[in-house]
């Protein structure tokens, strides 16, 4: 049985529209006008039990709204969904026993108290017995490396430490499904890695399904097997991550700095030069067309290298590219 089934799910928000200035305000008072925003448009997808699914898209794409409907917080404007066999917005409390949620931008731990107090409270809320709660806390403390953090007031933890506690708290009641909304937002590289490792371990050991939203491609690569990209409330791309990488994450950006000045007619075959400075060069190339080692040897032959940075193009570019392709196929068909 799939753990999430979504069919033509829709959510439309009404927002008041008001013209500028006093006149606009007065008019809005007597004759309010509304804009409807379609945050989610006829979205359909499935997620198998124990699957690691990434849900990505730019800000305002409808990721969070979808997650909120799947946890039963928001009522949809249309369509239906089943999560672990429950209709979320009708059976919110029953469903809550089986899922864990983390909203990266909103803490759920009690801010002024040590995290252990929140853990014990959650134990009661999920109706676990005290011995089991304590055993589980000890286990999670080890898995998330937070033994030393549990007794410090949450307000004194760093963001990375706090997020580790947040994710661990959402796993206390052994949920079958974990819904993570931007779990790595604002974290540094090391803290991100920490969280990803712990989530991956839990998913493997306890067969927890993970639905994760993010706008960080790194989260996807590290955690997910399959990815759904949404934009404007619709699915624009759906595939397994390795295919996505093969098809779209083929471009690399490289920035190099040399000890001596760079000549103005610097060029390498099959490489697009984005910028040439006095000592530095910025370039982009496609790894499927130009081999990486060819580019690297060219770069090192050109002079004495002082610094080099290799990066993936931002996810926004990838999505834009996918979006373009989707439109092209639409036009050609």
């Amino acid at each position: 049985m799939p753990s999430i089934e979504v069919n033509h799910l829709q959510k439309t928000f009404q927002t008041k529209r008001k013209a500028a200035g006093l006149r606009g305000s007065v008019r809005a008072l007597f004759k309010p006008e509304y804009n409807s925003i379609e945050a989610v448009r006829r979205l359909s997808f499935q997620m198998e039990a124990g699957e690691l699914l990434g849900f990505i898209g730019p800000n305002g794409a409808g990721k969070s709204t979808t997650i909120k409907m799947l946890t039963g917080i928001l009522h949809p404007s249309g369509g239906d969904a089943k999560v672990l066999g429950f209709v979320p917005w009708k059976e919110r409390q029953k469903l809550a026993y089986h899922i864990g949620t983390v909203f990266g931008q909103r803490p759920q731990l009690w801010y002024h108290l040590p995290a252990i107090d929140t853990f014990l409270l959650f134990g009661k809320i999920y109706e676990m017995d005290d011995r089991e709660t304590k055993k589980r806390i000890a286990f999670l403390a080890e898995a998330f490396e937070m033994q030393d953090l549990l007794e410090t007031p949450v307000r004194k933890l760093s963001l990375g430490q706090r997020m580790r506690c947040e994710v661990a708290a959402s796993l206390l009641h052994r949920p079958k499904l974990l819904l993570l909304d931007e779990p790595s937002i604002g974290l540094d590289v090391v803290a991100k890695q920490h969280i990803r490792d712990a989530i991956r371990r839990m998913a493997q050991e306890e067969n927890v399904g993970v639905l994760l939203t993010s706008h960080d491609a790194g989260d996807l690569e590290a955690l997910c097997r399959r990815v759904i990209i949404i934009n404007h409330g619709q699915i624009v791309y759906e595939d397994i991550v390795s295919n996505l990488k093969r098809k779209f994450l083929t471009q690399k950006m490289v920035e190099v700095r040399y000890a001596e000045e760079v000549s103005k007619d610097f060029s390498i075959n099959g490489v697009e030069i984005l910028k040439i400075g006095h000592y530095g060069v910025k370039l982009r190339f496609d790894t499927t067309k130009t081999p990486v080692d060819a580019v690297m040897s060219h770069l090192s032959e050109a002079g004495e290298l002082v610094d080099i940075t290799v990066s993936d193009p931002p996810l926004e570019d990838v999505i834009a590219k996918i979006y373009e392709q989707a439109r092209e196929t639409e036009l050609s068909s």
Binding site: I73, F103, L121
Partner: protein, 264 residues
């Protein structure tokens, strides 16, 4: 049983949380000291000017202890309406809704935890001042009746403020409604002036409303404990809890389907 434990733990953690900053808790409660002193000056002059020791059965002594109880009730009210309306507006309501408990009972347990210590410290400081001004507190029976009926006060206050807070689903700012509610409690609840001082017709109206069952009831029972009044206050509280409680449940169930979570 398990579900009772759940709400008990929520109550407990708010209680612990309210002790996270003891200085703030005590600081807030010190406010009752000048209040009681000003009330004392005001009513001493009033009684002197009237040239009598008792107005409608109330002496300066009973007026002061009445006001101590009324102040304690008012000053320990939790800021529930603001909390809920902020929850609705900033979207943090999502976090309250993603756990297996009822939103309304969660908020109730939460507000109780916030109230208890405030009420205790207010009553403590208030009693010390009033004792020093007019003499020792009334008989233990008064304490008992007051204690029981104050629980009804808290439930009623919860129903009303929660309703006001939930109106954030519809209106942008709930503070004007809070302001109106507070003034109704002040005037019709017998908070500034004991209801016994009102003309009979106004007393009849005031006593039929929930505000009197919240402030006047427990405070009057505290200074003049009588079984008749006790039963009467409990009955009024019960009736209003049923009316306001069912309105609250109805409004919540309607409101939650319209919920739009802001942010994120």
């Amino acid at each position: 049983m398990k579900s009772f434990k759940k709400y008990w733990s929520i109550f407990r953690i708010t209680l612990i949380n309210s002790l996270a900053y003891p200085g703030e808790l005590i600081g807030r409660s010190l406010l009752i000291i000048p209040f009681m002193w000003i009330f004392y000056q005001l009513w001493k002059i009033t009684f002197e000017a009237a040239g009598t020791v008792s107005i409608n059965g109330m002496t300066l002594y009973s007026t002061m202890w009445y006001l101590m109880m009324a102040e304690t009730i008012e000053l320990s009210r939790p800021a529930l309406a603001r909390t809920i309306s902020e929850n609705v507006k900033d979207g943090s309501i999502a976090y309250i809704l993603n756990k297996p408990y009822s939103f309304l009972l969660y908020q109730f347990s939460n507000s109780m935890g916030e109230t208890i210590f405030r009420a205790l410290t207010n009553a403590l400081f208030g009693s010390v001042v009033v004792w020093w001004l007019v003499g020792p507190p009334p008989a233990p029976l008064g304490w008992l009746f007051a204690l029981i009926t104050i629980f009804g006060t808290w439930v009623l206050n919860y129903c009303i403020t929660c309703l006001i807070g939930l109106s954030a689903f519809l209106v942008e700012d709930v503070s004007p409604y809070m302001w109106i509610y507070q003034k109704l409690v002040f005037i019709l609840g017998g908070f500034l002036i004991p209801l016994s001082f009102y003309p009979p017709w106004l007393q009849t109206i005031a006593k039929a409303l929930p505000f009197a069952a919240m402030v006047y009831g427990p405070s009057q029972l505290f200074v003049t404990p009588s079984l008749e009044l006790f039963v009467n206050v409990l009955l009024m509280q019960f009736i209003w809890i049923v009316i306001l409680g069912s309105t609250l449940v109805f409004s919540y169930n309607r409101g939650v389907t319209y919920l739009t979570v802001n942010g994120g």
